[in-house]
């Protein structure tokens, strides 16, 4: 048995995972080699050793000594009445692998990728990948986009950035002396874990060109486990040396000692045309363009049948035809002059016209416009009014159009710079600001024209047929991460709040849950259901259960287990490939082709690439090439038949996840592959490269036929799900048998799992957090899930397996209250440790004084420390010499008491209502008595069948000495589990014959009895209980303060007041509302009705009518405030007996 204590069960699993999962992203490199044994490292530095042992061996210890006479511990050893005790006690739980195998068998033929594969990308890989991309690639692009600085004063002078680097985290110890830091040091010393940003620059001095390298220009906080983090590529042993937990996912920053996460932000796709109806039902299109230089939003709207372009740089909407006028001219390609007669009222049109580089006049141009938009009857009809409008405005040439637009440009003249004419300005605007993402070279607006035309066409086609795009569709969404410019940028006038949050370290799960959280830009206050409701395209990408209740419901979401978020990719090679595959450049077409029924438009990241005739072939070839590894696996291609488009996406922020490819109705992954994977000959990367598995994003997923299970494959099937349970996220993954629960219960559990206390990491004892809750004896759950294994919840558990009897007892269990066994509490059930910290900074003041740590103050007479300082050592604190920041960690051990909150993993929370001595507890034939008694009324309305099954599986597992699985859409079957119960002489239904501990007679009912995993939640009475008789009052109103932290009073609220009024208890009312609150003696003049002072009315200059009465101070305050506003409240006094 002792051996078991030595080798934490986790060790082996980890090794394996490292071997399997070496992603190609490794160069950005987040997961390095992991060494097998956490336990190998040196113990001096590290409490964690012990700590993790404890956590993993809580049960072990129980077994080691029969002296641990607990009832709740007996669960693990004494279930089996037929086997002699000693033996059953000592049989170790089966190896994890073994258990895993069993489930594999259960699920039959579906190939199951073992855990490590699923986690190839890691749980927080999205954050790390994104940040890596940012500091290694994107930052250089941003620099390139803004590389040159010139001066108006000296045209010869310039400064150019040549290169930019982000270094590795360090601290400046003293002037110019830096030293690498570890993240944990930053946490402890309240520092920022950041690295210097250095640049190479080139500038002129006189006529000289000077190059300077490695100039620091600032510091960048470094994400933990990113490519520049010191933790990258370290073994668990090295982690331990750095006081880090190898299970900690990383992906957050440390800023001034506080761990901060940048939440994933959900946004509408950039550079995509979104056609949608406004509130009045009119259809419009909008595009949010974004490039490195600019961001802008362009709207295409319809007013009275005419198309207008709306942009915030234009003071009013511009008729679309005018825009075309400008764009449509093929300056470089035709010499033909076109005469455009279009109406000016609408700015869009004018804009278009203005763009004409040639003297755009006449029929040809109008024709061209119409050709581009579409020559179908109804399309032309729809567009005709716009052309007309252009004509009405007397705009026929590009010049006129530009002039028109120029007048509408919102003036935001920048200082300096050569003066531009209005026309130039308009041209500039059209070229660079409106639809920025469509590149305009040398004012050749061809591409932009076509793009605008496509927008118009979309809107026309969408009219009537109501084929508007769905804003909530996840193919139209992009998720922004740390690396994607999430923070405030002055350049884009963006300032978002609440993007970073402090990482919640309440439990391991809460930290993990935070890393997968997605917040939506949508306003929380608006009462709309659309963005909040579950979208079918969320399937498999976002967890359907994990969302908060209340105002953020549905707006805050969580990633599913296997979801990956893409980063930007080079599009150059894709463009080349596309043209090789037969995509024709739009600029070479006359425009009419766009609306041919057999021609498909090809878009790349929202830009029109060209057209293709045989789209099917294009898509197929593209996919083949991707599977062969010629194209990055995260490039997606999908067809939209109704819009006749092929979309290729290589942009960042798309949601995607892996699927098994199905060929000829057979999954590409075979058992042989799986064996090789298990043996480590292959890894997941190989699978990807060999075309066995591929990543699909939401759009492409919609273009595929995906089978859920192998037996559902038919001739149309293109892909196979890897594992259905991965559609749940991290938090929902903890729930056993979630598919048997009513869905809100799973949602509740997702919220509650984050409040459960347990273990937070192997380095928990080295941390000095403001608040930390730990469980004294955490256990891994008897009924686990695949997700639990994947996320290592077993190594950092938060809860205990409690023996539960579902019965009523004593009446102290109504309303979900629980009855606890006192002996269980004595033995350590639910015992927790609360850590708080106290901080103190030693300061130096300007007057040369400074703070200093002193020993205890001595009493003058006795030469002994005064009583307040008795506890201090002679030096006050250990080695305070250079200390600048002093942190103290305070600890409290708590055993559960009445009012403490517990919860199972099924959203069934309850407070402890009564603690009962063990001898009063009911016991079954084998002498087991429950740790917890739960009232059966908790079940019918909640419908948490999963909990019932968890109990059965837990009981069977405890009898057999093994763990059962409650994995979603799988897990151990009830039938098998119940057979196990029978085998051990227990009832098939899990209901036992139970004797009352009080009377000694049997109970009339059979009792549902067995282990359920219970979490202790952070809400404890000790932190909440509050009472006050007298105490502090608020300065202004003289009423008692509010809240426990201010030792406040207990409010007798409006409703309570109503009750007293209704009851007629006037004296009580008076007492509560005035006498016990803010009674105040005032002198009132009966003549003028104003407040006097000291028996003297200052208004009447008399004291003869002044009487003294008691009113609430707040009332007096009101009178005076009213007076200050020139309102005189007068009191009318009368003798009460008159």
């Amino acid at each position: 048995m002792p051996e078991q204590v030595d080798v934490p069960e986790g060790g082996c699993g980890l090794v394996g995972s490292a071997r399997w999962s070496r992603p190609p992203w490794q160069d950005l490199g987040c997961h390095g080699e992991k060494s097998p044994c956490w336990s190998r490292f040196d113990g001096r530095t590290c409490d964690p050793v012990g700590d993790l042992r404890w956590s993993s061996s809580g049960r072990t210890e129980a077994c080691e000594s029969s002296c641990w006479r607990s009832s709740w511990r007996t669960v693990s050893c004494e279930w089996d009445p037929t086997v002699e005790q000693g033996k059953s006690v000592r049989s170790p739980p089966p190896e994890d692998e073994e258990a895993a195998e069993t489930t594999c068998d259960e699920l039959g033929a579906t190939p199951i990728l073992p855990p490590p594969v699923l986690l190839v990308k890691g749980l927080v890989k999205q954050h790390i990948d994104s940040f890596n991309y940012f500091i290694n690639v994107e930052i250089k692009k941003i620099m390139k986009a803004n590389e040159k600085v010139t001066s108006d004063a000296d045209p010869m002078w310039y400064l150019k950035y040549l290169n930019i680097y982000v270094g590795t985290p360090d601290v400046e110890e003293s002037f110019n002396v830096t030293r690498p830091v570890s993240p944990h040091e930053c946490r402890l010393r309240d520092m920022t874990y950041s690295a210097p940003i250095t640049v190479d620059i080139e500038y002129t001095r006189g006529s000289q060109r000077i190059i300077r390298n490695a100039l620091p220009i600032g510091r960048m906080p470094i994400m933990l486990r990113s490519s520049n983090c010191v933790l990258t590529g370290k073994t668990p042993a090295e982690f331990a040396k750095l006081n880090e937990c190898p299970l900690d996912p990383g992906g957050y920053f440390i800023v001034k000692g506080v761990e901060k996460v940048i939440l994933i932000q959900e946004q509408l796709s950039k550079n995509r045309i979104i056609v949608e109806a406004d509130r009045k039902g009119t259809v419009g299109a909008s595009v949010t363009s974004s490039t490195h230089e600019k961001k802008s939003r362009t709207n295409l709207i319809v007013k009275q049948g005419r198309f207008y372009l709306r942009h915030n740089t234009l003071s009013e909407d511009i008729p679309i035809a005018i825009i075309f006028k400008k764009c449509n001219i093929r300056a470089k390609f035709t010499k033909r002059e076109s005469v455009k007669i279009t109406n000016l009222p609408d700015t869009d049109m004018g804009l278009l016209l203005a763009l004409l580089v040639l003297h755009a006049m006449g029929v040809e141009s109008d024709q061209e416009i119409v050709q581009m938009i579409g020559t179908e009857e109804h399309v032309m009809a729809a567009f005709a009014p716009s052309l007309e409008e252009c004509q009405k405005a007397q705009i026929f040439t590009q010049m006129q159009a530009l002039k028109y637009i120029g007048n509408k440009v919102r003036r935001q003249r920048m200082w300096g710079g050569p003066k531009k004419t209005k026309m130039e300005e308009a041209r500039e605007l059209l070229a660079s600001t409106i639809l920025t993402h469509v590149l305009v070279k040398e004012f050749n607006f061809r591409a932009k024209c076509i793009y605008t035309a496509v927008m118009v066409r979309r809107v026309i086609l969408a009219q009537g047929e109501n084929k508007v795009d769905d804003r909530d569709y996840y193919g139209n969404k992009r998720l922004e991460l740390a690396g994607q410019g999430n923070w405030s940028l002055k350049r884009f006038k963006m300032d978002r709040q609440g993007v970073t949050q402090v990482l919640s370290r309440l439990s391991y799960i809460s930290a993990l849950g935070m890393m997968t959280r997605i917040s939506s830009q949508f306003e929380k206050t608006r009462k709309v259901s659309g963005p909040r409701s579950l979208q079918p395209s969320q399937w498999g990408m976002l967890c359907p259960s994990d969302t908060p209740e209340g105002e953020a419901c549905g707006l805050v979401k969580n990633l599913a287990l296997m979801t990956h978020i893409t980063t930007d990719m080079e599009d150059g090679p894709i463009i080349k490939l596309a043209s090789n595959l037969g995509v024709e450049d739009v600029n070479l077409l006359c425009g009419e082709e766009l609306s041919y029924p057999n021609v498909f438009l090809v878009f790349l990241n929202g830009n029109i690439l060209g057209v293709i005739r045989d789209h099917q072939k294009l898509v197929n070839t593209f996919r083949i090439m991707r599977r062969a590894g010629y194209i990055n696996e995260f490039v997606s291609i999908s067809t939209n038949l109704s819009d006749r488009c092929v979309y290729i996406s290589s942009d960042g922020g798309r949601l995607c996840r892996p699927y098994i490819i199905v060929k000829k109705q057979k999954p590409a992954v075979t058992n042989k592959h799986m064996e090789e994977l298990a043996q480590g000959y292959r890894n997941f990367e190989d699978f990807l490269h060999e075309g066995l598995v591929e990543y699909l994003d939401v759009n492409e997923e919609n273009d595929c036929n995906i089978a859920l299970y192998e037996h559902t494959i038919n001739k149309d099937t293109t892909h196979l799900e890897i594992e259905p349970f991965t559609l749940l996220g991290v938090c929902a993954g903890l729930i056993p048998y979630p598919h048997h629960n009513q869905s809100p219960r799973n949602t509740y559990q997702c919220a509650m799992g984050k409040q459960a206390m347990g273990t937070i990491g192997y380095n928990q004892r080295n941390r000095i957090d403001t608040l930390m809750y730990l469980l004294a004896y955490p256990q891994k759950p008897m009924v686990k899930t695949k997700t639990i294994e994947l996320i290592d919840f077993e190594k950092l558990p938060a809860g205990q397996n409690a023996t539960v009897a579902v019965m009523s007892y004593s009446g102290y269990d109504i309303e979900d209250a629980l009855v606890l066994n006192k002996a269980s509490l004595d033995r350590g059930f639910g015992r927790c440790l609360v850590y708080k910290n106290a901080k103190c900074t030693l300061k130096r003041y300007t007057n040369q004084t400074f703070d200093k740590v002193m020993g205890p103050m001595l009493d003058a007479a006795t030469r002994k420390p005064i009583w307040r300082h008795e506890i201090l050592d002679a030096d006050g604190i250990c080695s305070p010499e250079d200390a600048f920041l002093i942190k103290m960690l305070l600890r409290q051990t708590r055993r559960p008491e009445i009012g403490d909150k517990f919860s199972s993993r099924h959203g069934q929370k309850g407070v402890c209502g009564l603690i009962v001595p063990q001898e009063d507890m009911p016991f079954c034939d084998t002498g087991i008595c429950p740790d917890i008694i739960m009232n059966p009324h908790g079940f019918p309305s909640r419908m948490t069948v999963g909990k019932l099954i968890e109990l059965l599986a837990g009981k069977a597992g405890v009898l057999d000495g093994r763990f059962h699985y409650g994995t979603a859409f799988g897990g151990s079957k009830v039938k098998d589990v119940c057979e196990d119960l029978i085998r051990h002489g227990y009832n098939y239904l899990g209901k036992d014959y139970v004797t009352s501990g009080i009377t000694g007679e049997p109970l009339e009912a059979y009792i549902y009895f067995g282990p359920v995993y219970y979490q202790k939640l952070k809400h404890m009475v000790l932190d909440k209980m509050h009472a006050r008789a007298r105490g502090p009052r608020a300065v202004l109103t003289r009423q008692p303060t509010e809240g426990r932290s201010r030792d406040g009073g207990l409010r007798l609220g409006e409703m309570e007041r109503d009750c007293l009024i209704g009851y007629g208890a006037s004296m009580l009312l008076l007492e509560r509302l005035m006498i016990s609150s803010d009674a105040f003696e005032v002198d009132v003049c009966g003549q003028c009705g104003l407040l006097g002072y000291s028996g003297w009315c200052h208004y009447c200059k008399s004291s003869c009518h002044v009487s003294s009465l008691r009113i609430p101070y707040a009332c007096k305050l009101l009178f005076q405030e009213l007076q200050s506003m020139n309102i005189i409240p007068r009191l009318k006094l009368a003798k009460y007996n008159e």
């Binding site: 964690p48 002296c67 002498g927 029978i982 004797t995 009377t999 009339e1004």
Partner: protein
């Protein structure tokens, strides 16, 4: 006749039905049943009451207690759990603890270690008494420091080889006699019952140095004083076949019970089921799942036949515990009688 049988069943048997237990309560109060003499009678009680020890192994005792009321039997069980005193660590004086186990947790763990010391030799400590004396306190010391093993192989990763004393076991606790305890208990060997209870893990440089005071206490106060791992009873099973069960049904029936409960005999070429040893059954009530069998069997338990099972923690042998429990109950009765006597009759 049938009526009498029914009444007898109601009086003597707890019947396990498919959906619940019937005749749960004791009903044989005087006057409750016509024709039965239920008034308590010393002679009859002595005739009927018996205690048979079934199994006595190290630390566990199984015995039958027949002919007694549930209240009394339960009282024994309750007293065993909560009122038979033992010695356990109550105060821990931490001189040094650099291990990762927090002081409170360490103290809690030490408290739960059963100490082999006969509680009958000690007195209860008076309330508010901080200093222990030799009559009410046993002192133990745990002083251990972990160090590196210089001989360990360089590449070894086995902590057992790398370090000395990295596991703190209960065997490391040593008795430190207080006052004249050496003379009081010349051949006493006070120590934890088990040597291999793991208390903490250490790494080189870490050290635990604590002094513990064991005092006498009862399980009601804290579970650590409870002398039993568990003490409970069950009623003797009584399984009756209402009709003859033969052949396949017999085999099926056999499978519905714990092994050894139903025996199959070969009578005239027919396999006939017979209840061999009902005592072995654990009442999985499997019969009720078989439509064809459920009406052929009556599952019941003998109301006044208690099969006790006492598992000692090892501090005292279970038979001693039981007799202690009886003594405590007798003491309580005596006190009650004394109280009654001391109240002046009106």
């Amino acid at each position: 006749m049938a009526a009498k049988r029914r009444t007898d069943e109601m009086r003597d048997r707890v019947v396990l039905g498919e959906f619940g237990v019937r005749n749960v309560h004791t009903t044989d109060f005087p006057g409750n049943y016509p024709g039965y003499e239920d008034a308590w009678d010393q002679r009859r009680f002595e005739e009927e009451f018996r205690v048979d020890v079934i199994r006595e192994e190290e630390g566990t005792l199984e015995f039958d207690m027949v002919g007694i009321d549930a209240a009394i039997a339960n009282a024994f069980r309750r007293i065993l759990l909560a009122e038979v005193p033992t010695m356990a660590v109550e105060k821990v004086f931490v001189y040094n603890n650099t291990s990762i186990v927090q002081d409170e947790i360490l103290a809690h763990r030490l408290g739960l270690i059963p100490i082999r010391a006969d509680p009958r030799l000690f007195e209860y400590r008076n309330q508010g008494d901080e200093e222990g004396t030799e009559i009410d306190t046993l002192q133990f010391q745990l002083k251990i420091k972990c160090s590196r093993n210089p001989q360990a192989a360089k590449e070894s990763s086995d902590p057992n080889e790398l370090y000395f004393n990295h596991k703190v076991y209960s065997k490391h606790m040593t008795w430190v006699p207080l006052g004249n305890q050496t003379d009081l208990f010349p051949d006493a060997d006070f120590r934890p019952v088990h040597d291999d209870i793991l208390i903490a893990l250490l790494r080189p440089g870490q050290e635990i140095d604590v002094l513990m005071h064991c005092v006498k206490g009862i399980g009601k106060d804290h579970a650590k004083f409870s002398p039993v791992a568990t003490a409970s009873y069950r009623l003797l099973p009584d399984i009756t076949l209402l009709q003859p069960v033969e052949d396949e049904a017999a085999e099926l029936l056999q499978k519905c019970f714990s092994p050894g409960v139903i025996e199959i005999q070969n009578i005239k070429g027919k396999k006939v089921a017979r209840v061999a040893n009902a005592r072995l059954d654990t009442f999985s009530r499997e019969v009720f799942r078989h439509e064809g069998l459920k009406n052929l069997v009556r599952l019941a338990r003998v109301r006044n036949h208690y099969i006790f099972s006492v598992e000692s923690t090892g501090i005292l042998p279970p038979d001693v515990l039981v007799s202690e429990a009886i003594k405590i109950l007798m003491g309580k009765c005596q006190r009650f009688l004394n109280e009654l006597d001391s109240v002046p009759m009106e």
